[in-house]
């Protein structure tokens, strides 16, 4: 029991972060907070990838004559790509939010919905 909780703590953090991000996306009405939720959600996945790359007793994957075991560098590289994707997604989303603010005068979901309904 203790082993599954303490020994794999990074996976528990990954699951918690994912749920926190998910909660923010669903429950928050502010569009910027939603994007923060998306970011936390994506960060959880980054943590998951980095966790699976760890090799017990391994060092950072840099060529070094004292090292025998290295961590798996491939997930690190994959996650660099995913981080770039995440940054681009955030950029596109923030650009849309500024435009939404100009058009609707608010970034609160309920106010936007109200304004849409009135103009229908």
């Amino acid at each position: 029991m203790i082993e599954t909780i303490a020994g794999k703590y990074n996976y528990w953090i990954y699951i918690s972060l994912m749920m926190i991000g998910f909660y923010a996306i669903i429950a928050k009405g502010n569009l910027v907070k939603k994007i923060i939720g998306v970011n936390i959600f994506q960060t959880a996945v980054f943590l998951f990838y980095i966790s699976i790359s760890k090799v017990r007793g391994g060092t950072a994957p840099i060529l070094w004559d004292k090292a025998v075991l290295y961590d798996n560098p491939l997930p690190h590289v994959l996650i660099l790509t995913a981080i770039v994707v995440s940054v681009s997604t955030t950029a596109v989303a923030l650009a849309m939010i500024t435009r939404i603010y100009k058009e609707y005068g608010s970034i609160e979901e309920d106010k936007i919905l109200k304004s849409r309904r009135e103009n229908l």
Binding site: F48, P75, T89, V92, A93, M96, I112
Partner: protein, 501 residues
């Protein structure tokens, strides 16, 4: 010269992705005179991609599977581009629809998008096409994720470029759901890598059967399927689609409805049948039952909602939800005939839905019609547009000599073959409802009296070059329906290959 041609031929798979990608970067960053001719650059790039896709398809059909090693690294270590006959046909389909859409948007986009936004719109649509081609061609599952994100990010921007402010909210909602979907896919890929230690699709296929029953692989499969279900807008995860297609400019709706969701389904079929073998789907997880129930619900729900719509584009969007249900139903039943039907319906829906959205744009441009009710007497006011619309609608419904009939017939036959009698009424009922919602447009258009002002032909209001691709798509769809034997045989071969027979 011959050396150059030989080198060119060798690198076709890479060029197919790179040419639109480069053009997408060139257009917004070039000096003003060239930027104003963005439409021409985009047309040129799409024409080049179409030529490359045709050459590649020719090579694949003559010599079999083409494998391209990116940077010379051999698979499974390097990234592989793998083109089998199914992928070749999908690439051709994407390139063809993208070319038709760029001809259409060259003439029609200025009506719905402001001049200063045009270069960015052209750039984003090229990025979208590049991402889709990459999704089809790649043989590496992480590379697949990257291309999904390229296509999706471009897609969000394209949806948000609509002329109404609601387009922004539609684009934002699409972004949130699309990102959740892509992150699920990324997570699924992570679990697959964790369990198998490889990212190459062909290699995964060999390694996974030993560990099919582990929780890690099951989790991976679940995340991948949910992720792709959002991306392909499978009911009940379709909620981003109606708003996105309604508020996007019509060239964008035509391009996205025709290619975006189709390539998503293609990737899903690849995951179910190529990454995992069909046995996994049949014996380890109850995926088959879940997908059959959901896609049947999608067929009926989408068609019923389409009947209730007043807006033409929103009706077409709900029609997409329904037709996506047909394609996934055929793939989920996973018998020889149903999968054949599913692949045929993918082609049919891509060509016809592009044509229908182009017609919706033409109606808006020539008479300002946005609602179904505005179309009274449209048969007389815009005869060519309505002719194309009717041809596409007939094929969508599945009236006998059309391709839609052939595909739905195969899906039904496959369902009976596999013993799923219960879905036959769904297939027929869905077709009936499809007939009803298209009849709601066609009947007043041909038999209704036009309003006082509009007895004369109003088609001159729309640019001629916007009409040509709509007519060409309708003609091609009809032609494929009349000569349905060739595509049906090809699809049957691709289905047999997917099922591993």
């Amino acid at each position: 010269m011959t050396d150059f041609l030989a080198a060119l031929r060798e690198h076709i798979p890479a060029l197919l992705v790179i040419v639109p990608l480069l053009a997408a970067v060139i257009i917004p960053f070039s000096p003003a005179p060239l930027r104003r001719r963005g439409a021409a650059v985009s047309l040129l790039a799409n024409a080049a991609a179409l030529a490359l896709a045709s050459a590649l398809a020719w090579e694949v059909f003559r010599l079999g599977r083409v494998s391209y090693r990116f940077g010379g690294w051999a698979p499974p270590w390097g990234i592989e581009y793998a083109v089998d006959p199914l992928a070749a046909v999908m690439l051709l389909l994407v390139a063809f629809v993208a070319f038709a859409a760029s001809v259409y948007s060259g003439a029609a986009a200025s009506g719905e998008i402001t001049a200063e936004k045009l270069p960015y719109y052209q750039s984003a649509s090229l990025l979208f096409v590049s991402g889709l081609s990459g999704m089809v061609i790649t043989g590496d599952i992480f590379n697949l994720y990257v291309f999904i994100e390229i296509a999706s990010l471009a897609g969000y921007a394209l949806v948000a470029s609509g002329r109404r402010r609601d387009a922004l909210v539609a684009g934002f909602n699409y972004l949130i759901l699309g990102t959740i979907a892509a992150t699920f896919i990324l997570l699924g890929i992570g679990y697959l890598y964790m369990a198998s230690g490889t990212l190459n699709i062909a290699d995964l296929r060999e390694r996974l059967p030993h560990i099919y029953h582990t929780k890690t692989v099951l989790t991976a499969f679940a995340f991948l399927i949910v992720g792709f279900s959002i991306k392909t807008a499978l009911f009940p995860l379709h909620i981003w689609l109606p708003d996105a297609y309604t508020y996007a400019p019509s060239p964008v709706s035509a391009l996205m409805a025709a290619t975006g969701t189709k390539v998503g389904i293609y990737a899903m079929i690849r995951v179910i049948f190529t990454v995992f073998k069909p046995e996994f789907n049949a014996s380890v997880v109850p995926m088959k039952a879940i997908l059959i129930v959901l896609s049947s619900a999608a067929i009926i729900y989408g068609a019923a909602m389409a009947i209730a719509q007043k807006d033409i584009k929103r009706m077409l969007a709900y029609s997409s939800v329904s037709q996506i249900g047909y394609i996934i139903l055929g793939a989920a039943v996973a018998s020889q005939h149903s999968l054949t039907g599913s692949l045929l319906h993918m082609i049919n829906h891509a060509l016809m839905k592009a044509c229908l959205f182009m017609c919706a744009g033409l109606m808006l441009m020539s008479t300002g019609a946005e609602k179904v009710a505005d179309l009274r007497g449209a048969g007389r006011r815009m005869p060519l547009t309505m002719a194309a619309f009717t041809a596409a609608a007939l094929s969508m419904t599945g009236i006998p000599p059309t391709l839609g009939f052939v595909s739905k017939w195969h899906i039904g036959l496959g369902a009976v073959e596999a013993g799923y009698w219960a879905v036959v009424p769904v297939i027929l009922g869905g077709s009936l409802l499809t007939g009803i919602y298209f009849w709601r447009v066609i009947e007043p258009a041909y038999f209704g009296a036009p309003p006082q002002s509009g007895h004369k032909n109003a088609e001159g209001g729309a640019p001629r070059w916007a009409l040509a691709p709509a007519l060409a798509l309708a003609a091609l769809g009809t032609l494929l329906g009349l000569a349905a034997h060739t595509p049906a045989v090809g699809a049957a071969r691709a289905a047999a290959e997917l099922l591993g027979r």
